[in-house]
Symmetry: D3
Subunit: 163 residues, 6 copies
């Protein structure tokens, strides 16, 4: 068992990666929302980028973010249009998949938007003892995922993953 005092002390450095071919940083409402939510809880954002919807750009940004951050939140590109490829880029890199993250996200999202949530392919996993989350790029989705799941659990996840 890990004592609670220990968990609350785990340092978290977050990276926010917005996957969008059309947005600039100035237009990145969802990325901005994530950064605000993290800042409110005293979590440092050590890396931020808006990158296009292609597998190489996503993997390259993720690789760079993982050099200095232990919690990477990618938003956008998780849907089912032809261009959406965040899941395709990230999933093969997981050493451990956290199926529960997508399930709980969709269970909670169902309460808000009903069966529409079946279109979301939200997903999380562990890469090199660090936590990586892929979430939809709407303001509602990032608020739900970050406030209700990621922030409450990130220290617990990292305490385990880093052992």
């Amino acid at each position: 068992m890990i004592p609670h005092s220990h968990i609350s002390e785990v340092p978290v450095t977050a990276a926010v990666i917005t996957v969008s071919t059309t947005r600039t940083k100035a237009q990145d409402t969802s990325g901005s929302k994530i950064r605000d939510l993290l800042a409110e809880k005293g979590i440092t954002v050590g890396w931020y980028a808006v990158i296009p919807d292609d597998i190489s750009s996503i993997r390259s940004a993720l690789a760079e973010a993982l050099l200095t951050c232990n919690c990477v939140i990618l938003n956008g590109g998780t849907g089912i249009t032809h261009d959406d490829c965040t899941i395709e880029a990230v999933e093969p890199l997981f050493s451990k998949r956290l199926d529960g993250f997508g399930e709980i996200f969709r269970m909670k999202s169902y309460a808000d938007i009903g069966t529409r949530t079946v279109l979301s392919r939200a997903l999380a996993g562990i890469i090199d003892k660090k936590a990586v989350f892929c979430i939809p790029g709407s303001t509602g989705a990032v608020t739900l995922a970050v406030s209700e799941i990621i922030i409450p659990e990130i220290r617990h996840i990292l305490t385990h993953a880093e052992r």
Copy 2:
């Protein structure tokens, strides 16, 4: 963002494939139920077949259905008996898996039949920009899946998948 008026205009042509080694079309209660539910909502069924539980028959029927239909509903063969192979036949063909479909189906099914739902391997995904659903072949299961998830979301799914 896709305007709602656009979504409601997406044309849907459904295929219904009942996977059963023992049934004839005359005895195909679940397939008949699906067709009735779709017809009530004005969705055309462009293709219908009852086929045996083997991987080649399932893939061949699915390939033929996808030539003219953009929403294929396979029912039956999703359980765990030795003969059940609908999931095995269809899952490798998905370009994108919709994990949320199976989850929301089982979450709703849990309300009806409790933990019995763990035996269902319901699953959905995208093949060639078209939606494919695999659901259990009982009347209860097809009613839940078709009325409560597929019909409400199919136009939204296709609007995204076809982009």
Copy 3:
């Protein structure tokens, strides 16, 4: 359809495998809890072991258990620490995965422990017509999984899997 009278007669022989590098049998609270829960419902435990957290030990114990038991319950090693490898050991061996088991476990667990449940990688599947469950090694988790899902459904699962 399988008549209910037939289902209730399916013989179940369970194996309990506790995955823990630090526990002895005397300290194995969760394994002991599982055995008590099964005994209360008249299910024979034909095989029991406490084994260390490594892939070979887990697969070796599982292989031995499957020679005489048709319901294997592994507990422990399902988290995300570096040492946790029960899922890694067992998942590649499944001929059919029961996604619903992990989902319903986490949905129920969410009611108890909230979003903390995203750390659980509980999972079940079929190996050689037998049922195999991987669940967390806490007393709460094993009680939930065994009392509320495994015991109520095991005969139904085996009736299908053994056909």
Copy 4:
């Protein structure tokens, strides 16, 4: 052991599928070559098509061919250009992969064209007890694969696969 007399009697019905977005049947030199080579050895070609380079067209043609043929030869689309997707379409469908087919093809091809053969992703496997071969669409490649490997071994392969 299977007696040789039995092997020589195995009926073979071949399908030839040429994967090319630009060719017509009249221009299909490699497909025509395969059909001639098979005909010379008395092997019936029961199905023939020229289809475009996309995963759905390939899987649909393959599914149809497998309904009546037990030896399917796809040629073309096995390289590494962006459009080449024959391997991507077919490989996930194999129940058993025959690694040796690609290896022996490239070993022999190396004698003809040297290291250039590393660009070929020739591959074979079993789908539903039938043999499926994916080979490059040049006349040299189809002649090598069909005359030197497929024709000499097809009856032996089917004798085993059909048991």
Copy 5:
């Protein structure tokens, strides 16, 4: 670099597992041949069994063999008949696959039996720092694999795998 003197001292304990539903130990010509070849080179055979062609029996025998042996040679069940499942049982257990073993086996086998070798799915890999080989169950195949590849390389393989 590992000095040669060190390599020649690596202790090897072999297991021989013959996969055959019809043979007894008395009729096990290929298993007997393997044991003789190993004995001639002073390699101890610490475990020997003839087991039926099913995934559970194979995995269970393999798990038991790996408790005391660091070189396991399975022979039989590597072909493409419906019953052949040695590859299916063993491949998912590999932590590292040695593609070169099957390639060199088939390259050498080609010199003996020509293109017939494409039917062999011979394969090797590492499980828990130990070497596991799957080879066809004919006397010719086991002689080639054991004399010409396994015996010459086993100490080198184990020196690396055990580090």
Copy 6:
């Protein structure tokens, strides 16, 4: 068909990544050999690093190299010791695998070092229309792979991959 004149004009920018936990650049004999061999043939090396044997460092270096180079040669970490993880890091990233590269490498290497080559897990594939090669880190291996396969074929590979 692609005219030969076009192939010889394809620009190649190479990256050399040596995977070794113990070497410095000054001690990097194999990386230095690769750079010399490329320079002799007028191929620019646009990126060079010596990095430790861990999956994150390898993926991060590869992602960075792919931003500016279209031919990445990783050497070292392809064996079977516990630390070797170059294949594990790179293989999941391939959009197309070139099985023939490893096969031809081992076929040629067999002529030099005999069956010892079965220990090499050399591998190549395409990532984002660029070529990536993983080869052993010995001087002999890099000389063989680079002089006899990569240099002769790289322009041909890129001509196809970039289309």
